[in-house]
Symmetry: C2
Subunit: 362 residues, 2 copies
């Protein structure tokens, strides 16, 4: 505006001219200033209007089904100052499960595939793994034997691959894997397999003053290296399972070393505990997809005022996977019953999502 | 600006007038528009300048000593985009100890005084406490015997008074105590005994794009009920020691019950662990007052780029207390040596703070 104004006034002071000419120039100058100002004011008004109304459709990858309607209605009710259900911004806490809610979790949780890749990478230094379960199963690509090793075997696998290094070293290992590893079905980065409709939902809630958190059974330090880039969720808003760490001085420099000892399991009845420990407020909206999220949704539902609970139901074997009550990954059984009984929102991926993954848009 | 502009143009279209008159009016109108624009541009520039320089003195309760100078210089260096030490806002994490750094900690940590009050309140339900240590010591007002019970005794005291209820019940108990309890020396609320210069520092850092966190050895659930009101620090930015909690269904409603079992001690080498667990980023500035903060400051100092480490040195027996190397509350010994050796900022409360508590301003 400053530049336009200078140009507009320029003719006034340039040379001695007749009064008539001068008048015409002044009129012209005023007109230019007026037009510039009108344009500036119009632009400002336009910007304000668009951002206030949420820029056209905030959830373009959602069909106009019950899920989308329920989300839009809830957000309207808690953000409209004249609504009886209005919630001030500081209390607009929304918590999201990760595996199966924000990205896929098949054939198995991606973090388990990371652990398997790590076992293979570390195997040359561990000749004993050739004959020792669950490592032998991994090296033989024998998933059946791996599952047979049970929870104990899986924990052993995680400890051997997730501990013994500093937190900084572990962060580098995760970043490198996330960059280079490819999903067996889609031959794409794991972070390509996030759900486009959920990315839109995260952005929409943040635009409406919500603070979005991840509350995952997965490892907190496995997620933090990429959640900011992929979900726009910073490390301090990521809660997950963890192993213990220890402060140590190494050559005069402090490090945090990852120990082979479980610190916290952020799953099932651990989720409300993790939420309270990290956030210290009860969410007003919670999003999950399995029985591991049931207690988080119950905890959210039990607060005062308007609440929103949503389950993503995996129903699309073509574009993603279809599973629920009998799956051993992301089983959705009790939580599905409770959702139906209590009127929580259950989103049918096949029917309600126009696209699943961001790459389908391109 | 819209209104001014309309007034300025008004004479142009009001009535038929001579060309000379018209010219004078146009000149007048252009002058008014020019003045209005100049004023608007000047105002904008002024607003920007003032907010960039932090509106007059951002730390009015700090004398112009080495502490204040060091703070202002550091903030300038990490927030000026043209500085080689510029840090983007997301990484501007500042962590503060609480006891002795943001509020007083004498005669003993205020949370211990809370526990003592709770023992007295609960004593009628526990006749066995009359003869059992450390409870007997508390009921007899025998502080010597209480200290003699050592760490084991203190933990027993905390467990008996901090567990056995839901988190919601405990929050109410803390809120009521904070509202009604009075400090023995000042006969004021404990939350009156926060340090005015540190309140200004917190506000100043936040204005400069920092996220301010509490990292305290004190109980996380003891602080959260009042830190937002007193320090403007929301519960999700409070990290502290904790006991375990358990998710339970009571009459169909979920509750989190506080268990008599330590979960995490957020002191000494626990502070970097707590910081990593909750924030997942390394602070660029850390503020403490005792050996319990040494590892937090070491952890902060060891990051890349510009760092700021500060210790509050309690030197004012008149207005507050004077203690350091030999104190059993808030001992400052090793950390003082390290600060001197490494050039960390040590603030002399007596010399550098114009006022200690907010009530001195009134």
């Amino acid at each position: 505006m400053k530049l336009t104004f200078k140009i507009a006034l320029f003719p006034l002071f340039k040379e001695r001219i007749s009064m008539k000419q001068n008048l015409r120039r002044i009129q012209f100058a005023v007109m230019i200033v007026f037009m510039a100002l009108s344009f500036a004011i119009a632009s400002l008004t336009f910007v304000r209007t668009v951002s206030a109304s949420g820029a056209a459709d905030p959830l373009p990858s959602w069909k106009n089904g019950p899920g989308k309607q329920a989300i839009l209605q809830f957000v309207q009710e808690v953000t409209d100052k004249s609504s009886p259900d209005y919630v001030p911004p500081a209390d607009r806490i929304a918590t999201f499960d990760n595996d199966g809610t924000l990205w896929s979790e098949r054939p198995v949780y991606f973090q388990l595939l990371f652990a398997i890749d790590r076992v293979k990478a570390l195997a040359p230094k561990h000749p004993e793994w050739k004959t020792k379960q669950p490592f032998k199963a991994v090296l033989d690509n024998d998933m059946k034997a791996l599952w047979a090793s049970g929870e104990k075997g899986l924990i052993e696998l995680v400890m051997a691959t997730h501990s013994g290094m500093t937190i900084t070293e572990f962060e580098s290992i995760v970043k490198e894997w996330i960059k280079t590893a490819r999903h067996p079905r889609f031959n794409r980065s794991y972070t390509d397999l996030v759900f486009q409709p959920m990315l839109e939902l995260l952005a929409y809630l943040r635009e409406k003053g919500f603070k979005t958190y991840i509350i995952s059974g997965g490892g907190i330090e496995f997620m933090r290296p990429w959640t900011e880039r992929v979900y726009n969720i910073p490390p301090e808003q990521v809660v997950g399972s963890s192993i213990k760490t220890k402060f140590e001085m190494r050559n005069g420099r402090p490090v945090l070393v990852r120990l082979p000892e479980i610190n916290f399991i952020d799953d099932k009845d651990g989720k409300p505990v993790g939420i309270n420990q990290h956030i210290g407020r009860r969410p007003i909206a919670a999003f999950g997809n399995s029985d591991g999220d049931l207690q988080m949704l119950q905890w959210t539902a039990a607060g005062d005022g308007k609440r929103f609970m949503l389950l993503v139901h995996h129903t699309d074997n073509e574009r993603e996977w279809a599973y629920d009550r009998k799956s051993h990954v992301g089983r959705l059984d009790k939580a599905l019953d409770e959702a139906q009984r209590r009127g929580w929102t259950v989103v049918d991926m096949k029917k309600e999502w126009k696209v699943i993954y961001p790459f389908e848009l391109k």
